[in-house]
Amino acid sequence: MKYQLEIQNITKSYGDLKANDDISLNIKPASIHALLGENGAGKSTLVKVIYGSLQPDSGQMQWCGEEYAPKSPFEAREQGIAMVFQHFSLFESLTVAENIILGLDDIGLDADFTEQITKYSKQYGLDINPQQVVGDLSVGARQRVEIIRCLMQNPKLLIMDEPTSVLTPQEVTDLFVTLKKLAEDGCSILYISHKLEEVRQICSHATILRGGKLVQNCNPQDHSKQELAEMMIGKKLIQLARSNITTGKDIFSINNLSRKSDDMFGVDLHGISLTIKKGSIVGIAGVAGNGQDELMQLLIGEVEAPEETLVFKGEDIGGLNSHQRRQLSMFFIPEERLGHGAVPDMGLNENMLLSRPEKSEMTNYGVINWNNVEKLTQQVIDDFKVQTQSSKMQAKSLSGGNLQKFMVGRELIQNPELLVVAQPTWGVDAGSENNIHQALITLADQGSAILIISQDLDEILTLCEQIHVLSEGSLSAAVDMEDDGLEKISNLMLGSEQQ
């Protein structure tokens, strides 16, 4: 048997759209094979075809050298194909062992079941306690539960969809050890990701898709990260660089900000302090759920901050609401696009009105000047190359990347002196990510200050000259990036080191 899975000329259309157009690839036994591509490139369609939840219009597959055309995921699993989804399907109130049993076909509960779990967990370095309730587990541990659940079926091919997007750097390293061990033991892995550095690190083969078509089958280690990215998006990336970092006076400071969360499951913030100078880009790294949402709410003004804890241009802004802050030239881009930064079923022009200073050309004593709103919306659409049929399209009809471009543009068009942005490129394809990063750098080069709160460490490292880490509601001091800065950040993210 030369190949574990051979895919030949798969085509799948939705109406006029060819989601997969004549795609062929071969997965070798015991290899880690990357499937690369931007959002909408056809990755998920191809995976669904392999996993049996979609049937192709044409093309064939061979599994272990034999004809393979699964009609359902059930058939795929019987053949030995397992999948770990990006969104876990675990019951929080049940224990690890109970969750694993529930996910298995035709396996009854017997006495040495937990023993088996422990066996797998030891064998592959998947540290897990079968008796623990899933609700108490970290995201990384939940992923381990999903992986063990797949391993119980003795798969020959394991499909992993964006497995590292929720993990800390340390957890990523641990996962890679597990994956390599699995591959050595003969299980092939199809690894879907758009994190190119990781792919280069662990994958020996890569298939790159773009717009439903196959771009190339290659060895990712033979290509630079940049080359891979350019194959994915089909055009040259702009080289990112600050042209001149000239930082000026302090413009914004957070002074010993503590706040107990209103939400039962929220994170309390403890003594957060931070200073931002004009013209600088400051990054707050950290795994989601460590107080990012709570901090963002305080910065936007959705929740009132204690006195003198937020000072912008010498003024205490803790009690101001968002459009009063905007009037002082402080603007915001929240992480969640639909429902927070934009209203899903309103047009872009109406959404334009969400972010407006107290005195704006868009309104006059509360009466909306739709002509001006229209003009500004059109300007954002043109300047930031937002792909939309018109300014009246509903926000939810835009792709994530396009809506993010609109939201970034909406704030930048106001020339903010301070821009606070959470996850600027979350779920955005590589081309848009590049554009958004470039826009932020240009803004800072013009002398504005930017505060970025992001889980994406690469992004923070690329853009920011001052980096803090948020962990369990506490903010570290700026990390000295000389000697082993990355390791320091990683430790801070895990909360194992206090600085």
Partner: protein, 359 residues
């Protein structure tokens, strides 16, 4: 197997077709009720009395408009709150209180003439309605008490308060102890705009309010605020809109307008305050608002439709001895079918063969 599949974009055709479909389904259901349950009457003549007769006689047309006016006003106020996700179910109570406070001013000046009297009474009625709805706003913003319960229960309090007033301070001194107020004098009565009928300027005010509301929703930030608070509360905060203000605003507006409608009923068709002042308009207006999909101009038309079921219902009661709850059945069916048909705007029906699928 039949399945509902989400459409890629809302169907424009269905936005217009679904009300017609709902009407057709209502008529069809009514046909079955009349044919199979009430077998001893002729279906066609009942339908004629219900839906056609009120539209071919000038008296009925004027009465249709008289009934539509308060429905328009109350539904407008409610639609603002419903857009914001503030559920004022007790417009009936605010209507009664407005009738009492506005009417009290008129009765106090019962021997004074003046063009200023009706405006003064109107202000009193609006304030009365606002105060009554404001109780719910206060409890909701201060203690997170559900406004549906507060407004609904206060309705019963208002009706009891009305009868207390009519047996006490507001009772007509020369009215043989009937629990009714004095008849309003000419200065306190709404001018008639169609001679020989009961149609008064209330209708003009209602239509003007419709256009005013339309302007507010389309052109003013407060309209945007209300829309966003209802559909995306986090985005409303992002935009700097205060959710407590939205609650106060929508309850005060709907309470004020309902209060004014209550006064207009008392100094319009009724001519005095009687225990019969509450006529379920406050509840029916909820149906009106939803039939109009909360659109201020469409509310005018849905009010007329609902007013028609009132008149038609009364007529079949008189001519065929059918119970007056026929009206309620029609209103209920209309709303039910309308809401059900509206799902076709976002979804389409697909028929396909069953495939055994395991995930």
């Amino acid at each position: 197997m039949i399945r509902l599949i989400p459409r890629n974009e809302p169907s424009k055709a269905m936005i217009f077709l679904s009300p017609l479909l709902a009407l057709a389904l209502t008529a069809l259901t009514a046909f079955f009720i009349f044919t199979f349950i009430l077998t001893d009457i002729e279906v066609s003549s009942v339908f004629f009395t219900l839906f056609v007769e009120p539209l071919i006689d000038t008296y009925y047309i004027s009465e249709l408009l008289v009934k539509a006016a308060p429905l328009i006003m109350i539904a407008l106020g409610l639609s603002i709150g419903f857009r914001a996700g503030v559920w004022n179910i007790g417009a009936e109570g605010q209507y009664v209180i407005g009738g009492i406070t506005g009417g009290a001013v008129g009765l106090y000046f019962y021997n004074v003439e003046g063009f200023w009297l009706i405006p003064l009474m109107s202000i009193a009625a609006i304030l009365g309605g606002m105060f009554y709805a404001g109780i719910a706003a206060f409890l909701k913003t201060k203690y997170q008490v559900n406004e549906i319960l507060v407004t609904l229960m206060l309705t019963y309090v208002a009706v009891l308060f009305l009868s207390a007033m009519l047996q006490g301070p507001m009772r007509n001194p020369s009215g043989f102890n009937f629990p009714e107020s004095r008849l309003f004098h000419d200065s306190a009565l709404l001018p008639i705009i169609w001679q020989g009928t009961r149609l008064n300027v209330g209708l003009v005010v209602a239509i003007m309010l419709s256009f005013l509301t339309w302007f507010g929703i389309k052109k003013h930030l407060s309209g945007l605020q209300i829309k966003i608070s209802g559909s995306a509360p986090r985005a409303a905060k992002f935009a700097g809109f205060d959710d407590k203000k939205t609650i106060w605003f929508s309850l005060l507006i709907s309470g004020g307008v309902a209060g004014l409608a209550g006064l207009f009923e008392a100094i319009g068709p009724a001519g005095q305050i009687t225990p019969g002042l509450p006529q379920f308009y406050g509840f029916t207006a909820i149906i009106v608002a939803f039939l109009a999909r909360l659109h201020p101009i469409a509310i005018i038309f849905s009010s007329l439709l609902i007013a028609l079921t009132y008149l038609g219902g009364e007529n079949v009661q008189i001519y065929f001895n059918l119970p007056s709850s026929i009206t309620n059945i029609f209103q209920g069916m209309l709303l039910f079918y309308f809401l059900a048909c509206d799902i076709l705007i976002q979804y389409k029906i697909v028929f396909f063969k069953t495939i055994r699928q395991r995930l």
